[in-house]
């Protein structure tokens, strides 16, 4: 027994060391930095105490960013999961013949996020894109909005693309769980006169509680940390309409030369995600204990 745990310890050590050096240490350092005023390039920085934190609490742009992140959380879960579930169920029921759908639907997930961003920027383009010229051609000019340039729509236009890219991920997740449900259950239900819809709502879905819980947690954390597509498509604009905590942090730290303040934003983000993740996991634990 003793040699086994010693071997295990040695095998686990390198990854642990890596994480300590490249993740834990920078996080702690950032938390420390949030108490300083620093432009990121001079050797000297001066202690600012809670100055950055007071500014953060009063910073309208940060709170807007947080609200945008929450919007992504809500819309992602509300849109991505049901659609992914629907697709998974359909593909599962369709059997081998529908395998091609599974493959093709997965493509968005395989594409580089930057490529997706550039692609959809072109799609959303008002003069040369795919949407507006078509809407204008069929006489629906009123619907030809300024998707990325209008502060009212930019965030939601990007959320649409986020959904497009991540639905396949959840679809595969749900599909994997569906496949593991024994087919005898289906047969037994059919014998008892259950329709396909009743089978889904009363048998499959309850059995999928665990994976749905996982999906919600993943989506929650991912949405709070989100950066990629917003950065590529709108850079948080116009005028901070689609600003996220991560994009705001990046801009403050690296474009405005305010490393201390950027670190405060980063620390706030880390804390928010940490608390949310722990809460989600706690809820998940309790649910499983009850089940």
């Amino acid at each position: 027994m003793k040699t086994q745990s010693k071997t295990a310890f040695l095998f686990l050590l390198p990854a642990f060391a890596f994480l300590i050096v490249f993740v834990v240490w920078p996080v702690l350092y950032s938390i420390n930095l949030s108490f300083y005023d620093w432009n990121g390039i001079t050797a000297s920085r001066h202690f600012a105490g809670l100055g950055n934190w007071r500014s953060l609490l009063a910073d309208e742009i940060f709170w807007r960013a947080l609200r945008n992140n929450v919007a992504i959380v809500i819309l992602s879960i509300a849109i991505q999961l049901p659609i992914a579930m629907g697709l998974a169920v359909l593909i599962h029921r369709g059997g081998r013949a529908l395998k091609i759908f599974k493959v093709v639907y997965y493509f968005p997930m395989l594409m580089s996020t930057v490529a997706v961003g550039v692609l959809f920027k072109a799609v959303y383009d008002l003069q040369f894109g795919a949407i507006n010229p078509m809407l204008e051609a069929i006489g629906l000019q009123q619907l030809a909005l300024d998707w990325l340039g209008d502060a009212r729509y930019s965030l939601y236009s990007v959320i649409a693309v986020i959904c497009w890219q991540f639905i396949p991920f959840y679809m595969i997740l749900f599909l994997a769980r569906l496949v593991s449900i024994p087919s005898e259950l289906r047969e037994a239900a059919a014998i008892d006169g259950a329709t396909g819809s009743q089978y889904f709502w009363r048998i499959e879905l309850p059995l999928m509680r665990g994976i749905v819980g996982t999906a919600i947690t993943l989506s929650l954390i991912g949405s709070l940390k989100y950066f990629d597509l917003i950065w590529v498509m709108t850079e948080g604009g116009p005028s901070h309409a689609s600003e996220l905590m991560a994009t705001y942090m990046y801009k403050q730290a690296f474009s405005s030369f305010r490393m201390g303040y950027g670190s405060a934003i980063a620390t706030a983000m880390f804390t928010i995600v940490m608390i949310t993740a722990l809460a989600a996991m706690a809820v998940g634990q309790r649910r499983r204990a009850e089940a």
């Binding site: 950032s30 008002l126 300024d146 340039g149 209008d150 690296f254 474009s255 305010r258």
Partner: protein
């Protein structure tokens, strides 16, 4: 110690090309990295030919050239400098950002290099303003002499019987005519925010001349809440409400050529942009360059006190500087000299650029016109986002974009900018 402190920055910066080390054994091999953002048209070639000729005469020096897209470059270089990993040679627009690097001892003082053999007399005097601090020179003017002018499509103007507007009221009339005929008067790609700010800068200068901005930036005698800035903001929003810009302008990206596509396709008639774009258009669409492209200076505002010959731009747009972490500054300076030597000057002129050297003569009538505008300008206003310290520059870009979006009033924008300027004092 410093490098470990930047773990986070290093992770984000990804591929950083730092100065290499000499390899043992061989005859003193040196290595340098050169970053640039001349990624369009003839740009990469202009740099590469100088590097090749330099390498021919300095066979023991390895030079790695890294081209990076303009907007990406602005962030990447700051991260690299902050991490102590800056390339040997990199371009800077001078002004506030360069001053930050100087204060942090991150760039080499080039005064002695420039005085050797009176090399500094090679360049236009006005070129030294954005790169001289405390009497010391920190860069070499290499890229264009550039100013912002209004490019226009001669064919479209002819079609609607328009002529080059001489006053701002004429310009508004031109805008109205074009709008009535279904042509977007101005192509504008304002997602990166700086293209739109050119309108703001010209409006301020035409209304009051360059002193108001200079005083506001120095916190002497006036502030960014000066009525001039508010009036400029008001006129800007008047332009937006008149529909002077194509739809979706605040979401359009500049670097991939969004506005050029609008100009080439005839969907927009004009664009207020730096004359460096001439070079890009010349190589991208020579037919358009030859047959349809014209330009005129930003018109005068009759009620304004500014001299209508003032220009917004820079002499020596893109000065190259040497990082203080560079292990071979002498060779780096020699390479920079190749980038603006007589051969390079000739090639740059052919590519449609106006090198910032004294006595530059050109047969190209377009370049000749630019040269004249620069030589006759009583004052050259450096772009605000390069002049101001970085966090104030960001606030300026943000408020400018907000004015375009009509999401802030001119008074709110002025107040926000002044607040940012005060916080940065």
């Amino acid at each position: 110690m410093r490098t470990t402190h930047y773990c986070l920055a290093l992770l984000l910066a990804g591929t950083l090309a730092g100065c290499g080390s000499t390899s043992p054994g061989s005859a003193e091999r040196k290595a340098m990295t050169l970053w640039h953002h001349q990624t369009a048209g003839e740009g990469p070639h202009l740099i590469q030919q100088a590097v090749d000729r330099f390498k021919a005469s300095h066979p023991n020096v390895d030079v790695e050239v890294v081209p990076i897209n303009n907007d990406a470059y602005k962030t990447k270089i700051k991260v690299a400098v902050g991490a102590g990993n800056a390339p040997c040679i990199f371009p800077s627009w001078g002004g506030g950002t360069l001053l930050e690097y100087v204060k942090a001892n991150q760039v080499v003082d080039l005064t002695s290099y420039m005085s050797k053999d009176n090399y500094r007399a090679r360049f236009l005097d006005a070129a030294y303003t954005p790169i001289t601090f405390d009497g010391k020179v920190y860069g070499v003017p290499i890229e264009n002499t550039t100013l912002a002018v209004i490019f226009y499509n001669k064919a479209i103007f002819q079609k609607y019987k328009l002529s080059e507007p001489e006053t701002y009221d004429d310009l508004l009339q031109t805008v109205r005519t074009l709008k009535q005929n279904g042509v977007a008067p101005f192509a504008l790609a304002n997602k990166p925010k700086w293209p739109g700010s050119m309108f703001f800068m010209y409006l301020v200068d035409r209304l009051a001349g360059p002193e108001t901005f200079a005083k506001a930036a120095a916190h002497e005698g006036t502030s960014f809440e000066d009525p001039v800035f508010i009036e400029a903001g008001r006129r800007l929003q008047e332009l937006v409400r008149a529909g002077a810009f194509q739809e979706g302008f605040n979401g359009l990206d500049f670097d991939p050529g969004g506005t050029r596509a609008l100009m080439y396709s005839g969907k927009a008639a004009m664009e207020l942009m730096g004359t460096w774009q001439l070079s890009t258009i010349k190589s991208e669409n020579p037919t358009f360059y030859q047959n349809s492209l014209g330009f005129f200076p930003f018109p005068a505002i009759k009620e304004g006190k500014g001299n209508p010959r003032d220009i917004v731009g820079t002499v020596g747009d893109n000065f190259y500087v040497i990082s203080s972490t560079c292990k071979s500054p002498d060779e780096a300076f020699a390479l920079m000299q190749y980038m603006i030597d007589d051969t390079s000057v000739e090639l740059r002129a052919k590519a449609g650029r106006v090198p910032p050297v004294k006595g530059f003569k050109t047969a190209d009538p377009v370049l000749q016109q630019i040269l004249q505008l620069v030589e006759q300008a009583p004052s050259v206003q450096l772009w605000y986002d390069q002049y101001l310290p970085p966090s104030v520059a960001e606030a300026h870009k943000d408020t400018s974009q907000a004015l375009f979006a009509l999401s802030m009033t001119p008074e709110q924008a002025a107040k926000t900018l002044e607040q940012a300027a005060r916080e940065n004092k």
